[in-house]
Symmetry: C2
Subunit: 175 residues, 2 copies
């Protein structure tokens, strides 16, 4: 069940594990584990790539944000993404807005509700270091900052393989 | 029909008309019309406030972004919003992702499609100048930058009045 949920999570978005954000600035740390536990600082201030609603078991609404190299690459149509790219995905449960619907007298608005277990995901690009997983490192964290276990994270790359032609990234830029 | 659509647009979000962004920096221009035609520069680089899906006739998926005063006010729980606040709402048609659904074998992902006529909306705060409309000026633009007509824009404030207690802003911050 967890595995299925995680596979679905990757749809339309991205997933990733981060060891150290410092790594993105070029420092080599060959001893870093593939799946790590550090949330990239400042990700909530990053610019918007796109939004999505994932139906089915996930039933979430989500925003996909990118750091500066990510946004630049998207806007310039640059593929593959450059090393240092980080893509963040924030998911909230897909909740009807009771206060809006009361005002408008119909089931009109769906808005972010409480954070699901798959609240945060990241993809971090380092084409050499993570060549075995398409050049990306994957991460997932819940609302308390607890990382997903490695069994789940090992499903990220196989799920992203069908979009190899887009450098393993599902999300398109929303203009 | 247009009027109904516009009323609905305001749900879960915000709407607004901008005369001059310079105005937000404090310059007084009493001759500026209430509903104007200038899109705030750089809004696509602003930070994320929240996301939403509007069902019914709108059937869109949207992102709500804020300039720096907007984000600061939201994060600090500051009400009313300070003068200079601008809230932007980008809407895209709510489209099934055929490429994702093909990969996953089910109707899984809903993503941004083509821009609807109500592509962009803005609310600009100036408590003194726009006191007659709750301190906000409203705007709407289509994907070609064409502003909505005044008849439509005059429906913005009445629609926002039910959320006067939140300074006429529907959208909550998504953490």
């Amino acid at each position: 069940m967890k595995r299925v949920a995680f596979l679905l999570l990757a749809v339309a978005t991205v997933a990733g594990v981060i060891g150290s954000v410092a790594r993105a600035s070029g420092s080599a740390d060959e001893s870093a584990p593939i799946f790590v536990t550090k949330i990239p600082p400042g990700y909530r201030d990053w610019r918007l790539i796109s939004v999505a609603h994932e139906a089915g078991n996930l039933n979430d609404i989500r925003a996909i944000l990118g750091n500066d190299p990510a946004i630049k690459a998207y806007r310039e149509g640059m593929l593959p993404f450059p090393d240092g790219t980080i893509i963040a995905r924030i998911a909230w449960s897909y909740a009807p807005s009771e206060e809006n619907n009361k005002i408008f007298g119909r089931a009109q608005s769906f808005v972010p509700g409480p954070a699901p277990d798959w609240y945060l995901q990241f993809m971090v690009k380092d084409s050499k270091k993570y060549a075995a997983t398409g050049g990306w490192r994957y991460a997932q964290f819940d609302k308390d900052g607890k990382p997903a276990d490695e069994t789940m994270l090992k499903t990220c790359f196989p799920c992203h393989e069908p979009v190899k032609a887009r450098d393993f990234v599902f999300t398109h830029y929303a203009p």
